[in-house]
Amino acid sequence: MIKLRDIHKYYQTGNQPLHVLKGVDLDIREGELVSIMGSSGSGKSTLLNILGVLDSYDRGSYELAGQQVGKLGETEAARLRNKLLGFVFQSFNLLPFKNAAENVALPLYYQGVGRKERNYRAEKFLDMVGLSDRTTFMPNQLSGGQKQRVAIARALVANPKVILADEPTGQLDSQSTLDIIALLKDIHRRGNTMIIVTHEPDVANQTERKIILKDGVVTSSQTLEPVSA
């Protein structure tokens, strides 16, 4: 599903280029639940952004579902994100002036899905994440956990193959964290490939494989024993 070879990424900080990813090789199979761990500055978020085609890389190759991502223009990249990828961000990234259902329906809008169908699917996915009674709530009327559930519904609504979650429990209390992880595992069981970036070992331990990133290189890739939800 995902094949990264010798990925390098530099950031320009002042006059000095900062070498963030120093030749990452990574393979993720379809339907796998993977966590990426690493200390702050290890490059894990940068790696997730590259995996999500949200950011470019400077060297190497990236193949996603058989497509060479490096050769895509911005329009093709946008379509690829819309069709294949779903995102869950640490800071939720909901549009503040849209209600929960409208936020969830947004990826469908960019697919050209009609309003009626969008509304139906948005409500269905909100129901799936346990927010059927919050469809018309604005983001500022929702708790952190509820916002993240809306974000998860949004990530799922267009039926993507891969879900990318960047510190999905980073802004949540412990109960919400447990709920969200359980929800993500449920979603994975539906067949989605899922990649979670986290610095929390408890979260990483819930996944099938734990990839450790240190100073821009993958230092270990450890398959974990299945843990019941």
Partner: protein, 412 residues
């Protein structure tokens, strides 16, 4: 499309004050331009109205005494024009649209019911009223071809003469007046601001009647003509005068034998003045518009900057660069177009209100009437503003479309 508009409505509603300020800048620019153009046109209409029947392109030729000896004839020879001159001009000078001879008698006494007035009595063929097409008749009618053919003793009187002869409120049409002791029936009353208002002291009778009643042996006092559209009036005047001088053996340099007056000359001065006024109006108007445009540009830059994070989120969810650019452009286009249209409607509405007020109260403002605005000019101004609005939005929109989603999402 409806979805796109709804998306835009969401955003605009989210930023009410900013949207309102942008819209107001555009509204004010168009509103002021329309007002300025309307007032400019009102002044122009007022000034042109003061010319009365002196239509913008008419010219008049008359004869006098020669002032230069020519072909063995001394100076002081009296030149008299006649119908053959009219026919010669019609046949030999290119570019004549209408031509008419006329007779004229100054200080002709007119009387009615013991009251007297003096008038310039003018004998005219029907063609004359086609040349001086702008003579408004308050009552009754002009003299017509039947009057001419049947040599009727009928007269159209200027309203200044009527005021002197008739009691207030009395209808002069059908009444008999005496002009130089001959009875004429009044066909109509006109008000003519021409010749600085003096034209309202005139009286028109058919040329055939004039000839029969007052004689003259087929001679004419004036020849009045108008050029074909697009023909240079000054050139035509030169050719007509040259032909008449040749026909009457008047020296080419003689200034008195054949005289002419061309309305194009004062019109040229007036038009020059209005060109200056219009340039000034456009200068001020475009200045106001420019201020509006700068406002839109600034607000668009701020809008895109403020929305960078939102744009990043939308890109992450699948918005293509085209979708981002088109949404931002549609936003700025809609705001400018709607605000511009409202400015146009309010501006035109105010001008109409002023015009209505002036008409209904009968108030006279010197050199000002019927303020209106050329629709095409107004639409051009809006199109210009919308076009610039689009360009103003295009730069920041392109920039927004270029940055990567993750960079955009990091923006504060």
């Amino acid at each position: 499309m409806l979805d796109g508009l709804q998306e835009i409505w969401f955003t605009l509603r989210q930023n009410k004050l900013r949207t309102l300020l942008t819209a107001f800048g555009v509204f004010w620019g168009i509103f002021m331009l329309i007002l300025l153009l309307g007032f400019g046109r009102g002044m122009q209409n007022g000034v042109y109205d003061d010319f009365g029947s002196d239509v913008m392109d008419f010219m008049i030729v008359w004869s006098g005494d020669t002032s230069v000896p020519y072909h063995g004839m001394g100076l002081g020879r009296k030149i008299r024009l006649d119908e053959s001159d009219v026919e010669a001009v019609r046949q030999q000078v290119n570019g004549v649209r209408m031509i008419s001879g006329s007779r004229r008698m100054g200080d002709a006494s007119v009387s009615y019911n013991g009251k007297n007035s003096n008038t310039d009595l003018i004998g005219i063929p029907d063609e004359y009223f086609r040349i001086k097409e702008d003579i408004p008749f308050n009552y009754g009618r002009k003299t017509n071809p039947f009057d001419e053919d049947e040599i009727r003793k009928v007269v159209a009187l200027g309203d200044t003469v009527v005021e002197r002869l008739f009691a207030k409120g009395e209808d002069p049409v059908g009444k008999d007046v005496r002009i130089k002791d001959v009875v004429f029936k009044v066909t109509g009353v006109f008000h003519d601001k021409g010749q600085r208002g003096r034209a309202s002291e005139w009286a028109y009778i058919p040329q055939s009647t004039y000839e029969k009643v007052y004689g003259g042996g087929g001679k004419l006092d004036n020849i009045t003509l108008r050029p074909e559209p697009g023909v240079d009036g000054f050139e035509l005047e030169k050719n007509v005068v040259a032909l008449l001088k040749r026909r009457h053996d008047v020296a080419p340099e003689d200034k008195r034998g054949i005289n002419s007056f061309n309305m194009a000359e004062p019109m040229q001065r007036v038009n020059g003045l209005f060109t200056g006024i219009n340039v000034f109006i456009w200068f001020v108007g475009l200045g106001t518009l420019t201020a509006g445009i700068v406002g839109i540009s600034n607000i668009m830059i701020i809008t895109v900057k403020e929305r960078t994070r939102e744009i990043g989120i939308r890109k992450a969810l699948g918005a293509t660069p085209f979708k981002i650019i088109s949404t931002l452009l549609l936003e700025s286009t809609l705001v400018t177009a709607i605000a511009g249209y409202v400015g146009l409607v309010v501006g035109v509405g105010l001008l109409e209100l002023i015009a209505f007020g002036l008409r209904s109260t009968g108030a006279k403002m010197p050199y000002f009437m019927n303020p209106d605005v050329n629709f095409q000019v107004a639409m051009t101004a809006i199109a210009l503003l919308v076009g610039v609005g689009v360009i103003a939005g295009l730069m920041p929109a392109l920039r927004a479309a270029k940055i990567t989603p993750i960079e955009a999402m990091r923006a504060e």
